[in-house]
């Protein structure tokens, strides 16, 4: 066990830092001062800058576009992106369907889809949940019926994040209504924009932004060559992908950002002739969270290190999701507490009433209530830990 950095790794950190500093456009840097709420166009702008540098997918194997970095380098890279408060890339292509295709896709699919995920030409979204299939995902109803060389898709997905920006969606569809419900599910890729019968209706979230959509399929015709893996074999892949997702959506990197934001807010919040950052009680509250986050970062590093030794993310990834989202929510709550009366502000409060560093914090705070719901709710994560790790008996 040795957790210290080598001179090469220290040099690597400087290289990354200098590059980000030079590569990040000024208008993005300006946004990085606040909560870092980037528009989709800005996220994709940054995506393309990373792509041009060859640093878009450090976690992919080198032969399909990865960087060939080891785990320490990847970690350093991640830390530096957080430090710069750079836009957070959409996880659906790079983090989910990409790795899935690398593992289970055929050559034609890899050739067709991977390059455009890397380049950012094609944006992806995830069509798992349905109105009546949330926690109980396996009960999903959207069905795909064979017709010649195609599937015909009918049904509804919901809470589809980014569907309104997406070119492609990966869908879990029912292809067999009988038998065990997990065994009749197939993994299918669909072109959102060019398939007649697919419609996307964005929802407004409590954060005041339209982060997710309802996605309808009415006789939407998709070639069978867009199926990944065997028919009725989608559940295994869906679960593998969820395990993967859980290592990503604990929001651990984001928590670092919000923590720094919290300190900036506290420093900018006057209390008489002093500032809130001078307040011992408030400093302790920040400190407690920062220390908890530090422990969590080590859990994450251990998971990553295990992954590098070829072990797939197991049920322990549930810890990252469970504790990670809890910490993430607590930090934004602390930001709100720090703001005092400014916590009343909203996205449309005029600038003279709400300082720029605080704009968007209340929106984030509201939106992040979803962090303990999406990607498998935290209750479901606890069930997984109890059953699969602790092997506790069922009632």
């Amino acid at each position: 066990m040795d957790l210290s950095y080598t001179p090469e790794q220290i040099a690597f950190r400087s290289e990354v830092r200098a590059w980000i500093e030079a590569a990040m456009p000024l208008h993005l840097k300006r946004k990085a001062e606040g909560p870092g709420h980037y528009e989709q166009a800005e996220v994709m702008e940054w995506h393309k800058i990373l792509y041009a540098k060859g640093w878009i997918a450090p976690h992919w194997p080198q032969d399909v576009g990865g960087t060939g970095w080891n785990i320490a380098q990847r970690h350093i890279f991640g830390e530096e992106l957080v430090r710069a408060n750079a836009p957070q890339l959409s996880p659906f292509g790079l983090g989910m369907v990409g790795p899935l295709l690398i593992q289970y896709g055929n050559d034609a699919q890899k050739k067709r889809f991977l390059p455009k995920i890397l380049s950012g030409e094609e944006v992806w979204c995830q069509g798992y949940s349905e109105p009546n299939a949330g926690s109980d995902l396996a009960s999903l109803q959207l069905h795909a019926d064979k017709d010649g060389d195609d599937y015909i898709l009918n049904g509804q997905k919901t809470w589809t994040t980014n569907a309104q920006y997406a070119h492609w969606i990966f869908v879990l569809a029912r292809t067999n209504a009988g038998g065990k419900k997990q065994e009749g599910i197939t993994f299918i890729l669909a072109d959102v924009r060019n398939t007649p019968g697919i419609t996307v209706k964005p929802f407004l979230t409590t954060g005041g932004t339209d982060a997710f959509s309802e996605t309808w399929f009415q006789n939407a015709r998709v070639p069978q060559s867009n199926r990944v893996g065997p028919e009725n074999g989608g559940w295994t892949m869906a679960k593998a992908l969820l395990g993967h997702e859980r290592t990503l959506i604990g929001g651990i990197a984001e928590s670092r950002r919000w923590l720094r934001l919290c300190k900036r807010i506290a420093a900018a919040t006057a209390v008489g002739s002093s500032s809130l950052l001078e307040d011992v009680e408030f400093r302790r509250r920040i400190a407690r969270l920062e220390m908890r986050l530090r422990s969590l970062e080590m859990v994450q590093l251990r998971t990553l290190a295990a992954a590098q030794l070829g072990r797939a993310p197991g049920p322990e990834s549930s810890i990252l999701k469970l504790v990670g989202t809890d910490v993430e929510q607590e930090i934004t709550e602390l930001c709100m507490d720090g703001m005092g009366h400014d916590a009343l502000g909203w996205l449309d409060s005029p600038p003279e009433a709400l300082p720029e560093v605080e704009r968007g914090v209340a929106s984030l705070f509201n939106y992040l209530r979803a962090a303990s719901i999406y990607g498998g709710s935290n209750e479901i994560q606890r069930n997984i830990i109890a059953k699969q790790i602790l092997r506790l008996p069922t009632a």
Binding site: S139, F203, T206, H341, A343, P350
Partner: protein, 383 residues
């Protein structure tokens, strides 16, 4: 000891509940989210006609001689429907100060029309550097031949964007952080030198950013004695906190009940989600917190009328802390147990969540009240 409502109180509660159900369901508030004012003058004058605005004022001040607890019962019911009219700003804060300190002429000019529902009021006290400390005041009132000239800035003034008259805190002597030297003035909304910026807030309501530049008022606009307003400001803000607990109680109760109903109705894994023991325990804890909120709120509402300043502060801080902590437990879990739909704007639960978060941030947050509590003389005595 008797926690039951009197017959009159029960009639009052029933009539407010009926109003919310029939005339002011959450739908009405939703529409007001897009309006300039954020609420309806028509609804306000109806509240005046029904006598709700005057409930807690003495009869000789044009009120009905009831207690603060009566007013709290009204606010609790209004909280269940997210009724956006400015009860706290107008009746509890500014109205309370006018009734407590106003001369007969001042009451006649500013309090009477408000009680009748013809005007609304605001209380401008908070400043950027003030946080929750009420003595922090950089706004100054300089003596002029005919009265005073007020200059300064007040932030997040509830109903400040729309009020007809504004009670403002200004310093007539001393330095920015001094306890002594604060005075209260009544300023007209259209006074020269007063700029009001409408500020939309997280809960879908609005408030005002008020800038005073040499706003001149006559000596007859001084409310109470010059230079000794702090104790009265504390009194008003304590009642604001008690009112926030009362309105917040309505919202907490409503969220709790809606959540329990949803646990019975929503099915996953072929069963109602309320059959999962993990969620049953959560609901049981939410129930406990809701009852703690309600109990401490009742005590706070009764103590709001207490002349014993320490008792008043103790119980109101207790209730405000409970709203901040226990109320938070209920609201975060309500959203959690609704799952994905809980974070959509279409669903009402998020609106209650936001209103509650605003009430938690007003009149001292949980930390501030815990801090004040431990500074009260009684804390150190060990009985």
């Amino acid at each position: 000891m008797n926690f039951d409502l009197s017959e009159e109180q029960q009639i009052l509660v029933d009539s407010v509940a009926k109003y919310v159900k029939n005339d002011s369901p959450v739908e009405r508030f939703r529409k007001q989210r897009d309006s300039e004012r954020g609420y309806e003058l028509e609804a306000w004058s109806r509240m005046g006609e029904m006598g709700w605005l005057g409930v807690a004022f003495p009869e000789e001040h044009g009120g009905f001689g009831g207690s603060f607890a009566d007013l709290a019962l009204i606010l609790e019911q209004l909280g269940r429907g997210l009724v956006p009219e400015p009860m706290i700003a107008s009746v509890v804060l500014a109205g309370g100060l006018l009734s407590r300190l106003g001369s007969a002429d001042q009451r006649k000019a500013f309090l009477d029309p408000m009680i009748e529902g013809r005007t609304t009021l605001a209380f401008a006290y908070g400043e950027r550097q003030g946080r929750y400390h009420l003595h922090e005041c950089a706004t100054r009132a300089e003596r002029r031949a005919a009265g005073f000239a007020i200059s300064g800035e007040k932030v997040w003034v509830l109903n400040g964007h729309a009020a007809d008259h504004i009670v403002v805190v200004a310093r007539t002597s001393g330095a920015q952080s001094d306890a002594a030297g604060l005075s209260l003035f009544v300023v007209d909304a259209n006074a020269q030198g007063l700029t009001r910026t409408r500020v939309p807030t997280m809960d879908g309501q609005r408030c005002g950013l008020l800038r005073f530049e040499n706003v001149t008022v006559g000596a007859d606009r001084l409310l109470g004695a010059e230079g000794s307003a702090l104790a009265h400001i504390e009194w008003a803000i304590d009642r604001g906190a008690a009112a926030a607990c009362a309105e917040g109680q309505g919202a907490v109760q409503e969220l709790f009940e809606r959540t329990v109903a949803y646990l019975k109705e929503r099915k996953q894994f072929e069963v109602p989600i309320g059959s999962f023991q993990a969620l049953q325990h959560r609901a049981a804890d939410m129930y406990a917190e809701t009852e703690l909120c309600r109990s401490s709120m009742i005590l706070a509402a009764i103590e709001a009328d207490d002349d014993d300043e320490e008792m008043r502060k103790r119980e109101i801080s207790t209730a405000k802390l409970q709203l901040g902590r226990g109320g938070w437990y209920v609201m975060e879990n309500a959203i959690q147990l609704f799952g994905g739909i809980g974070v959509t704007d279409e669903q009402d639960e998020g609106l209650f969540f936001k209103r509650l978060r605003v009430l938690q941030a007003l009149f001292g947050d949980a930390d501030w009240h815990a801090d004040r509590f431990q500074r009260l003389p009684h804390f150190a005595t060990q009985d």
